[in-house]
Point group: C2
Chain length 155, copies 2
C-alpha cells in the first residue's frame, strides 16, 4: 500500500520534469487509504519558491478537508522533505511521512536540501544568509497580547 | 532604518491578534530600502498551515517582482523564522534577515518553533512525526530525467 502511493508521488515527479512546470518532485496526501491530493513542484511555473510538491499537497489537502490541520493524514513524497516542507509537516500535524529518495540524492541533482539542513545547525548570524536579531523594547508585545486573548485560535 | 522596518513587522503582528486572522507574527520584504510586501500570519483564517507571515510576504514579493527568487531583498520579521520559513528564505535567495523575538520567546506563547528545530536534529525515523524512507528501484528516476534535461530551469 505504502509503495503504491510512493510510486504515484515518483510518477508525478517524473511527469513534472517532462512538462517543464517545475522540479523533479511529487507528493501525495492520503487519509484512510484514500488519496486526498496529489501535487508536483511548481516553483518556476508559479513563480513561487514555496511551491514545493509537499507544500502544495498540504495546502490543497487542507482546502479539501476544510481544516488548517491534517490530523490522521499521511504524506508520501518522492524525496525526503526539505526543511521548509518538514516545518509545514509539523505545522499541519500530519501523522507520518514516507519518502523514496533522500537529501543526498537531491544533492546529486544540485538541489540545496542538504545544504539548508547544514545551515540550520549554524548560529543564525553566521549563516550564508545572515539572520540577525535586533533587540527592541516592544518586541514581545504581540506575544503578550496573544497570551491575554481569551478567544485565540490555537494552531 | 532596520528598526523602522522591524517595527512595522511587529505592528502587523500585534494588529493581527486584534483582528483574529491568525497568529502574532508579521513580516516585511524590503528591496533598495523600499517595502515590497508586508504580511501577517493567516493560518487559521486562510485554513492554510503554511500561511506564516514570512511565507506570505515572500510569495507576495515574488508576485510583485515577477520572479521566483528574491535576490537583493531583505526580510524583516517580528520573530525568528521557524524551520519552514527558514527553508523558504533559502529557496527564495533572500540576502539577509532581521528578526525581533526568537524561538524561545515564541515558545512562551506555546508555539512549536523551538520544538521543530529540536526535531530536525533527530534521525527522521525517530521523530515525533516519523519520516520513513522506503527503498524503491526507480526512486531516483525523476532526478535522472532532470539531470538529462537540457532546458531545465534551475531554482
Amino acid at each position: 500500500m505504502h509503495e503504491t502511493f510512493l510510486r504515484q508521488a515518483i510518477g508525478l515527479a517524473a511527469e513534472n520534469v517532462a512538462s517543464g512546470e517545475g522540479g523533479p518532485y511529487g507528493a501525495v496526501v492520503v487519509k484512510n487509504n484514500r488519496v486526498i491530493t496529489a501535487s508536483a513542484n511548481k516553483v518556476t511555473s508559479a513563480l513561487d519558491p514555496t511551491a514545493h510538491a509537499e507544500i502544495l499537497a498540504i495546502r490543497a489537502a487542507c482546502k479539501e478537508l476544510n481544516d488548517y490541520q491534517l490530523t490522521g493524514c499521511i504524506l508520501y513524497t518522492s524525496c525526503e522533505p526539505c526543511p521548509m516542507c518538514l516545518g509545514a509537516i509539523y505545522w499541519s500535524r500530519l501523522e507520518r511521512v514516507y519518502f523514496a529518495c533522500n537529501r543526498f540524492d537531491a544533492a546529486t541533482a544540485n538541489f540545496d536540501d542538504s545544504f539548508i539542513y547544514d545551515e540550520i545547525a549554524i548560529p543564525p548570524q553566521n549563516r550564508k544568509i545572515p539572520m540577525l536579531q535586533i533587540a527592541l523594547p516592544d518586541a514581545t508585545a504581540p506575544f503578550d497580547i496573544w497570551n491575554r486573548k481569551i478567544d485565540r485560535l490555537l494552531y
